[in-house]
Symmetry: D3
Subunit: 238 residues, 6 copies
């Protein structure tokens, strides 16, 4: 029995709220149960130095947790003077995941900067971030089209992410914090709407996992991501 009484293959309740704040070109609050992440997409008419003059765009991401998004207060990274290794790992993952579905030449020499800020954490902040950031990025790009700056969307397909893990010997979908902090194996999976993988990151926390377990986890993840992509589509259609 999962702490939340969910079935092993059951997502938490997911909510996607677009236009959550008013300044950003895309602004989405995504909720996976009690995990709440504000994802904004900012359009900047410049690119990083290594892309100057190459006619291609870029998508990058930054991630942060509010100090009291967690059960006990975390130290503020800005006050510490540096981002933790975990933060850097997550923001690099978000950026790579989004870039995998964008045609950089079609985006043109501009940059989409994604900010994922965790308002409340209950496990799965990185997968919620990717799933919500895709919607924010889509809104920002649709704004460029509406403004006549792009003719058609450089987004090739949807991308979303979910965590799966072995919890008390069973493969489960969408781990919340009590599961995440007590599981044997934790895997984050990023997939596209065509059913292909963009990232698979599985980590044994204590007990190494078998190929069979890995297959069970991937099966769960595939189904969960299909559902998340439907929710992205509904949110964008509304």
């Amino acid at each position: 029995m999962r702490p939340s009484s969910r079935r092993n293959d059951q997502l938490r309740q997911v909510r996607i709220t677009r236009q959550y704040t008013r300044h950003a070109e895309g602004s989405v609050l995504i909720e996976f149960g009690d995990t709440k992440v504000l994802c904004t997409a900012s359009v900047e008419e410049n690119v990083p130095p290594f892309l100057k003059g190459k006619g291609k765009g870029w998508v990058t991401a930054e991630y942060g947790m509010l100090p009291r998004s967690t059960n006990t207060r975390m130290r503020r990274e800005a006050a510490q003077g540096k981002q933790s290794g975990r933060t850097q790992e997550i923001q690099r993952l978000i950026g790579r995941s989004l870039r995998a579905v964008v045609d950089m030449a079609a985006l043109g020499e501009r940059q989409i900067v994604i900010d994922c800020d965790v308002i409340q954490a209950d496990g799965g902040t990185r997968t919620a971030s990717i799933t919500g950031a895709f919607v924010a990025m889509t809104d920002a790009i649709n704004g460029l089209i509406a403004a006549g700056k792009l003719e058609k969307s450089p987004i090739r397909e949807h991308v979303a992410a979910i965590s799966v893990g072995i919890y008390q010997g069973k493969a489960v979908l969408d781990l919340d914090y009590p599961e995440d902090s007590d599981c044997e194996t934790d895997m984050n999976v990023v997939m596209t709407s065509s059913g292909k993988f963009v990232e698979v990151q599985g980590t044994a926390e204590g007990v190494a996992f078998t190929r069979q377990e890995m297959n069970a986890l991937l099966d769960l993840a595939e189904q969960g991501i299909k559902d998340l992509i439907s929710m992205q589509q509904s949110a964008l259609a509304s």
Copy 2:
């Protein structure tokens, strides 16, 4: 005429939402019109080194803006590796303002850490932060009383803050961003429920101000803060 069509002595619509997130001992979303700040209060059973063993408590604050809380994206301070001078100024102001109404001996050797994070900015983030942080701190302290860790509240009285300024030659209350970025004088006033000042910070932006103007500004601020304190009381009563 003010850009928002408000009267010169009119506050923006203020909303105070308690228990906005679930982990913090106090968690308040305060809105001054389009300015939205999440204020959390965390109780820590320790004090800074300079107070160790003195039987007194402490209240301190940190402040941050989400990168896209503003009209154009600000660089993330955690990624920059340091907090700006402005950020430090504001968080020091918030801390001093709250400490002014707390009896540190009565609080006991523990610390209340306030985090004010700006979700959306439209002027007045520091005054909204102080006003909301007071409510979050009160909730946290009431939790200590409910848990039997304190017998009675060490909070002596309410404290709230508002900005006033000279905009197009007129004294106005509660400047929003269009006013703030175009005013001659900007003053932040922090007052208690007994009508005394905790902080007065007036700055001429371009044109120095007269004693008469200063008096007009203080009159406006006094009234505004009385109203804010009523709203704090209503929020805490509900």
Copy 3:
């Protein structure tokens, strides 16, 4: 009775020594009693990036305390790897105060960099800094005029600063360190020679202050600043 036996409305002995060091375009040692600050003004033929090509100048300031300017040794900020929040607050205040009396278009696309370094501290270092920096800046600008780089001075009027406070229930002028560390309210006032305010920063240290007290403090400050401006004028005339 004040620790220094001064009358409540009495400044400490003020000395302004121009050309104190030989390299800077303006170099002033200002003494408020035992507080000694070296203020230099450096002319740089460039402006910060946000002003490039706009035909306007800039005035900025940095502040520091020698490690043993104080009673017990302070850690050296350069060795610490960062400036404290207090240092940043003060240097921002000095810069704003001086900019308030300079016509930036008339200054032309160049920058005056003020350095205020405290040689010996006994309270009031920020107000001494502003008062001395004005003289150093004036010398630097007069040098530009003498060199034919400016036709007339972009300085519109004098600016000076003083601290006032409630000490043992009485409003007093120009607090020294024993008063400053033991006062109920501390206010720093920056005014121009036309009697207008540039900055008013009042802080209750423990006990909030009334409107009446604030008025008494401002009265004291106005008289003190008038006297300081006379001393600036004498120093510049000699």
Copy 4:
């Protein structure tokens, strides 16, 4: 055809040289073809603060590249003042991989610090690091046993790592730099001698990958890691 003319399932020539330097408790030079990494294991009779007094040990890792280990000179991280996100990601991966095979209670309250420094890079530095670090850690722990500080080894089984990827549409084992910089998918796999996974990190570089491709990659990795573990065993036996 691979740039190195290797078969798709062929490792580069692997060399493991123990006691490469004389100060460290374990010191191994590992070579995967032209990739050369010096892995040292240092025993410290203390643990990180979060483990103090819990009777358990710890294994942690740091990673670095010499500035000219690469084709064009990289900036020295010590001179930059910070470690890149990539460096932190890799050193966290090395630490987790080794901890997965060590019984921390059996290690006792002491710490093994692994340093992996890349002398020459040609792709696969993180997998060479893990594979070599295991040998260095084993030597350090055997030293503790020889010195009578441990009765038996807390190491439960071997761990090694290899990269696999889709290069020009084919699954290949142990990518060198020309393959790594031009592949569609890159996966790092960490496995134990019992054939279980500790980490699987697959990343699509441009083209997302299918479940079939993933299976082909894992098949290759399993065989490669079995071979690496044999080589670790031979090296430790000699």
Copy 5:
């Protein structure tokens, strides 16, 4: 002919002013011509961690230049967030030079912290710093004796320093800035009153120097340091 018209073996005018500021246990302004350095000595009743509980004291030094001590403004190290390599080199040299003449066991478990801050620079700031710091340290130690905390002085003998160099083919004593920036060889020599060397640091700036030149430089330095030590003695006697 030297730019200053001095003889090749002639020091600049040296002035040593004790009790220059009032807070430090030792406070000396030393002037070598236009070079002016404020040297303070602070007594701290603790030692660095590596000396805790060993019954021995320590002497350490920090060095800084005011931003406009130089002809063109230098960036403030505190604002830069780090001390330059040159600053660190100099402060390490000052510390070593003073430690060479102090009996650390006789000093007891306390620390003398020297701060050398350059008010005005015209070459030779490190040698002036050492020479002045010795006097400040002596005053601080005499204060400990006067206060009954030490029975007798742990200072074994005097130490002072001077620069020598090859300027336009001639060996000269006590280089000022015009000489220093245009010389072939620059050597800093630190000696004790018994005529022994504590430090010799010779650097060819462009043209390497011969053993004969080195001997000529050391001859000049020996005489210069003898004279500086007489001046230290006179200053301490007054």
Copy 6:
């Protein structure tokens, strides 16, 4: 008797291995007994900002120690976020020593970046670095000549370095770690093939040294450096 049983004027066994790694334009492993330093020279077709457009080149150096090159593990400077004062001192010394023998105008507007990384330390790492870096730089420059980018070598003569010291009252050549950590005086000498000094840095560690001792040390150093330069020549000839 020296710990290593060497004669007082005897170098440790010196080995110079060229082309030690494959990416750098010059790559040399230099061994002074158990001290092993990897010296690489990288050619960059740009110069530091202060030399832009002046038609002159530059040679600069960085130095680092692998964390476990030493007997007890040193903290990694990249993880610490800064280079120590000692590291900066050494890398500045290496850079100055090499620049002393290069004609910067003849080098043209390009830069040679030297990296000296200590693989194993046993005293004398800075002198081994200089001696090895000269060979790496020569290889890099010969590569420029071979590629037709330079007509003739801008290197005017050889440069090498050795340490000498007073150990147990005797002048000895090429101190190893047991001698270095227990000597009275330590001197690093950098000389050219024409027998001139580039740097002489003598430091009394506890006991000041006499002019006679200094002369004895310089005599030893001259002979040692002559021998090192022969070895450089042999290595470059092979």
